[in-house]
Symmetry: C2
């Protein structure tokens, strides 16, 4: 049997970041830069006022104070957005707003709070040093310098910086586009009357939610019966031309494991992975577009854990991110719990102030215990149980944070 | 001056979780439950097989082993999704797949791995105890029990659990809908040729990105000139009927701070908050719908910090989340840095292995320094500088994680 790390590396070895594309900067949130972003302007683009107040020649205000204000005539206003190049004569001031361009000749700002606020003849109550409250052109960023680097993921502040640098489009790896298919004759739509032997298809909606929580784009969601002719649809062009195809179910040892049966011929490698839950796994490329595919086991908990362990790194690789920088952290077991040696156990745990506790029944079909879990703890294959105090690597469950 | 905590509490005191709404479970990712979710079925809904293998009567296999297999006739197959109630006669077995319903009379499963796999007359190489590899009806969840509680935020596993429990719709607080307006005559569209005195409108795109990063919905984005008649549009019905209105700019001490001028009459409270950046703030309700509004300062860094400190808690409150459980963490300063006493300083910092370091120029207009920052450190108003080793509360910058 493969280790989960071997299987993950096998999947990642076949994937590369999606080809770069230019997108409007306003649509770049969360994407990874494929090229550096270079400032197209100085920031600020011109010397401007950092305060609402008066643009002055500092030499005119030597000795000014609250007790001994200097009174000067006001030669009009400069608002932010004023595109005129004003000039300030000696012995005069101009009223100026935050962000407005400095008039030629002025070398300091007196804030409005240190004045009587007049628009005609103003009393100024301090003597600024030259340069005071001026934001010089290019102080923050110089035209032609790199403001964001290839490989950075664009957050809101990065997006604002690129926009401010007048960069209208950025070159990014696009968001991976994913198709999801659940399989199995027993699966019915949620809200149906269930006959004996039938269950609700929870995997489809869960995988769709995981795709969104991983900041990928769901392009297709479907269901396939356990019937070779139905499953063969996966070998045809897939609606939405996904970058990654996910299936759930039909990959185990059963006589009706049609996904395995059909896709073994079609380019998918089916393997056993030494993990619990999630032993039966498959990956490869299929169809005319050689679309990467990961076939997940059908038990919902197996499917969820397999998504965290294999699909999330794959999506991160496609998006241009470090596939393994997925927020793993170390936790300390608060209690003992049993584990099966020979396989890595992914125990769903509650992360509490006193450490990690299993969140309830750990069967691969037991969704109930997931409700309180916020992470999966990775129990090494060598352990036959976890002891309280043991340090374990934990993977935060996608989409469960921030409640 | 108000403290930032007083101002935040003032904003929060006026807001409640948005009225609950029923949504299809598949659309509930990230939303907060307004009502408990009660299972409409048992999980599992019927006794079923946990393995691909053979349903047997354990009494028929006493003493079976690899050396001494028991050979029994196979009375057909039971696939997952088979809706017939089968019955197993003594001295016979049925081939059964994972998830398929147990036949009456059978009390254990022999996995296919412990057989010769025959569909006609099978050699079985172990003697299972009664109940082995059977998932009993209701073992995971019982019909009528609460599987998810009001107040929980729905993650992918929760969504799967609700679906599996055959709950088609859940009652949730909807995602807050937000309108964003940047203001200022100096602001031009990204990619424009900038005249002297003009800058790119980076706030609009940044606030839109922050709204998305906060998992809220952007319904309108616009720009208003510094002109009372333009700003009065905010007192009319807002396109998209937002739950929260955000403006940036026009709230300071200037002669053209039109947002402040117009909205002071219209129900907005403008105050100074003892923080840096972000001193000029406003909040209230305006227009015929009494829409909650937060007016942010126009300097981009002030706007971003104000979003983190005031808007994010407001959005969390509207969404039904704990407004203050925003991931704040404690960090240790790696170096000294200056601070202005009398105001809380929100220093943009890099969180490195050795602690916190300011990420560059800290002017409220300096976006360049934001590129590397991943958090803001909250420096108390009593401090005139930070000393290396000092513990500071840090707010993770929205949308910068996971790179």
């Amino acid at each position: 049997m493969r280790s989960f790390i071997e299987h993950r590396d096998h999947i990642l070895a076949d994937l590369s970041p999606l080809p770069a594309r230019r997108v409007p900067v306003a649509e770049s949130l969360g994407l990874v830069l494929a090229e550096d972003v270079v400032a197209r302007v100085d920031l600020p683009g011109f010397d401007n006022s950092a305060m609402d107040g008066y643009a002055v020649r500092s030499a005119d205000l030597v000795g000014a104070s609250a007790d001994s204000p200097v009174v000067l005539p006001v030669d009009g206003d400069i608002a932010a957005g004023d595109t005129t190049r004003h000039s300030l004569a000696a012995g005069r001031v101009m009223r100026i707003m935050t962000g407005a361009p400095m008039p030629d000749g002025a070398d300091a700002i007196v804030p409005v709070e240190a004045s009587d606020g007049s628009a005609v003849t103003v009393s100024l109550m301090l003597a600024p040093e030259a340069g005071r409250h001026i934001r010089p052109r290019g102080e923050d960023v110089r035209l032609g310098t790199v403001v964001l680097r290839a490989g950075q993921r664009i957050g809101p502040g990065h997006l604002a910086l690129a926009a401010a640098a007048n960069v209208a489009e950025v070159s990014v790896h696009p968001r991976p586009r994913v198709a999801v298919y659940s399989t199995g004759n027993e699966l019915q739509t949620v809200g149906s009357e269930l006959a004996f032997g039938q269950i609700v298809d929870s995997n489809g909606a869960m995988l769709a939610a995981l795709v969104r929580a991983a900041d990928a784009e769901l392009v297709t969601i479907g269901h396939l019966d356990d019937d070779p002719s139905a499953v063969r649809a996966l070998l045809e062009p897939i609606p939405g031309s996904p970058d990654l195809l996910l299936t759930a179910g039909g990959v185990s040892m059963g006589a009706y494991d049609t996904v395995k049966e059909v896709l073994s011929e079609g380019g998918v490698d089916f393997v056993k992975v030494a993990m619990r839950p999630g032993m039966p796994q498959g990956s490869g490329r299929i169809g005319p577009a050689r679309t990467p595919i990961i076939t997940l086991p059908g038990n919902p908990v197996s499917s969820l854990v397999s998504f965290q362990v294999f699909v999330l790194p794959a999506l991160r690789r496609l998006a241009g991110l470090d596939p393994l920088a997925d927020g793993a952290f170390e936790g300390v077991a608060a209690v003992d719990w049993p584990s099966i040696p020979g396989r890595v156990d992914f125990t769903r745990v509650l992360v509490g102030p006193d450490g990690l506790r299993p969140s309830g029944g750990q069967g691969s079909h037991q969704l109930g215990a997931l409700a309180d879990a916020t992470a999966v703890a990775v129990v090494p294959a060598t352990d036959d149980h976890v002891v309280a105090g043991q340090v374990l690597t934990c993977l935060p469950l996608l989409g469960t944070l921030g409640a």
